[in-house]
């Protein structure tokens, strides 16, 4: 390994590590002025932690409020040691944080669910743009062509399976009210998160619509989605869903 690589790997290992300075790195830093080489290195070590924690605080503001400074700070510290960033934008650093919280707090799964919801709203906010399919996109379609039609969802669309009243907790925190006690729902509920008019939106789905959107997301043709749908009046219900998806900008053009 050449000198540059050796210095950079040593420097990076130090910044990502627990603060111990390897002899070779310490020896590579010039002694100057009142500060020691270790003092100078520590500026980078500390700034890294401050910066990465700020990114998590910003992305997970309500999870942070809910968990409290101490617990959230602990989770953030462990996360940044376990998942160094490979992203070009610091905004993505928290990508795996919600999963991480789920593993770290197995007895409090509603905290992870809140984090999942918060991250999904952030994703919806600046997900890639795509043309939206409105009614005009399908008006010329022959009735026979519907069965094979594959509808794709807008990049901002996400389906979240929630087992707790995490959305109510999220809403209360946003209004600076005491959040309701976490309770498991009688049955899991799917929430739709998406972007409309450049703002994140969310709503809960009934099982019919949730299954249909999940099938679309998995790449099923419209005909197949209808086949998979159970219950009375499938055609009418699907027609109403389709109209709603178009008006709500859920479908990619």
């Amino acid at each position: 390994m050449k000198g540059l690589q050796r210095i950079q790997r040593g420097f990076q290992d130090y910044v990502l590590g627990d603060g111990a300075v390897a002899f070779e790195l310490g020896a590579a830093i010039r002694q100057q002025g009142a500060l020691t080489a270790h003092d100078r290195l520590a500026i980078y070590h500390n700034a890294y932690r401050v910066r990465m924690r700020e990114a998590l605080n910003e992305a997970y503001q309500r999870t942070w409020t809910y968990a409290g400074d101490e617990l959230f700070g602990e989770l953030a510290g462990t996360y940044l040691a376990a998942h160094p960033s490979s992203f070009c934008n610091l905004r993505w650093f928290g990508d795996r944080f919600a999963d991480f919280v789920r593993q770290q707090l197995p007895d409090h799964p509603f905290v992870a669910e809140l984090a999942v919801f918060e991250w999904a709203l952030g994703l919806a906010f600046d997900a890639s743009d795509a043309p939206v399919a409105g009614p005009a996109a399908f008006s010329a379609l022959a009735p026979a062509a519907w069965a094979d039609l594959v509808l794709s969802l807008h990049p901002s669309v996400q389906l979240l399976r929630m087992e707790f009243n995490s959305v109510a907790i999220w809403q209360a925190l946003g209004q600076e009210q005491a959040p309701p006690a976490p309770v498991a729902l009688p049955a899991p509920c799917v929430w739709l998160v998406w972007r409309k008019d450049n703002q994140p939106h969310f709503r809960s789905l009934d099982a019919f619509e949730a299954d249909a959107l999940a099938a679309l997301a998995a790449g099923s043709s419209f005909g197949r989605v209808c086949e998979l749908s159970a219950g009375p009046d499938v055609a009418q219900r699907m027609g109403r869903c389709l109209q709603d998806w178009m008006s709500q900008e859920l479908l990619r053009g």
């Binding site: 050449k2 000198g3 540059l4 690589q5 210095i7 950079q8 790997r9 420097f11 990076q12 910044v15 990502l16 020896a27 590579a28 830093i29 010039r30 100057q32 002025g33 009142a34 500060l35 080489a37 003092d39 100078r40 290195l41 500026i43 980078y44 700034a47 890294y48 910066r51 990465m52 990114a55 160094p84 960033s85 490979s86 992203f87 070009c88 934008n89 610091l90 905004r91 650093f93 919806a124 906010f125 600046d126 997900a127 890639s128 743009d129 795509a130 990049p155 901002s156 972007r195 450049n198 703002q199």
Partner: protein
């Protein structure tokens, strides 16, 4: 002094979300252009990109990145360059800049502007990477000098000589951060005038001004204060040496109202006008 490659563009500010509403409402007096953080708009859509398109309709825009990491053997990834170029194709910036530093290696990003050892090896690596980037982007890029809090025993160049050699050997341009020159001059104990005098005037395309924080025994480049008086004095020296240079004020934390930043920018314009404005 020869004419820089890109024309003088006047005085700009960083585009920050806190100011979107004001910028959309009315023209901002005294602001000729905005500088964006490139990565915030790469592979993204929604409101940020819509706001950028709106700003771009009314103002020229400069693209300033923080993750190109020209100072590592591996250099920027093709994926990164592709996204950067796609954004440039979309908004047609005045120019594209990043930093003379490294930000991480082996696929990691520490999201910091890390100091390079000023060695022949590092110079060769940076020059090779910058040439590749410029070929890909089909234009010369600007590289900014960073603040640093340490230096390496291996250094074979002074920082200003390294900055000059990178620019000359890769045929790139310089984004001179006057605050960073000042910060490093205090942290490393050199005369900032020596720095300015070492740089080739024709390659100094843009100037950054920013505030810093004085902490125990060291100055940190925090971008959370107004531009400090010694930095203004150094800016005037830079103008005398380099002629009119497109200038912007960076503010990333404790962001004041847009009007306050525009007023601060007016001071830069006033200093430049006092030196170079042609009497009517």
């Amino acid at each position: 002094m020869t004419t820089p490659l890109y024309p003088f563009a006047g005085f700009g500010l960083g585009l920050r979300t806190a100011h979107y509403v004001d910028i959309a409402a009315a023209p901002v007096p005294g602001v000729d252009w905005f500088e964006i953080l490139s990565e915030n708009y790469m592979d993204a859509g929604g409101k940020p990109l819509a706001m950028l398109d709106m700003v771009r309709r009314d103002y020229p825009v400069v693209m300033h990145g923080v993750s190109m990491s020209v100072g590592t053997i591996e250099g920027p990834s093709d994926t990164y360059l592709r996204a950067l170029k796609a954004l440039a194709d979309r908004i047609d910036p005045l120019w594209i800049s990043d930093h003379l530093c490294w930000t991480g290696t082996m696929g990691r990003n520490l999201h910091d502007l890390l100091p390079l050892p000023y060695t022949d090896e590092a110079l060769a690596v940076v020059v090779r990477n910058v040439r590749r980037v410029q070929n890909y982007l089909e234009r010369p890029i600007l590289l900014e000098n960073v603040s640093s809090y340490l230096s390496f025993n291996d250094d074979a160049f002074q920082e200003w000589d390294f900055v000059r050699e990178v620019a000359e050997q890769s045929d790139s341009l310089i984004l001179l951060d006057v605050n960073n020159v000042y910060v490093s001059s205090v942290n490393h104990g050199f005369d900032p005038q020596t720095y300015l005098h070492a740089l080739p005037a024709r390659r100094v395309q843009q100037i950054h001004l920013a505030g810093h924080s004085v902490q125990q025994g060291i100055i940190i480049d925090t971008h959370d204060h107004p531009v400090a008086d010694p930095v203004w004095r150094l800016y005037e020296s830079a103008l005398r040496r380099f002629g009119p240079v497109s200038t912007m004020i960076e503010r990333d934390d404790a962001i004041p109202p847009l009007a306050d930043l525009a007023a601060e920018l007016q001071r830069a314009r006033g200093m430049s006008d006092a030196l170079f404005a042609v009497p009517a």
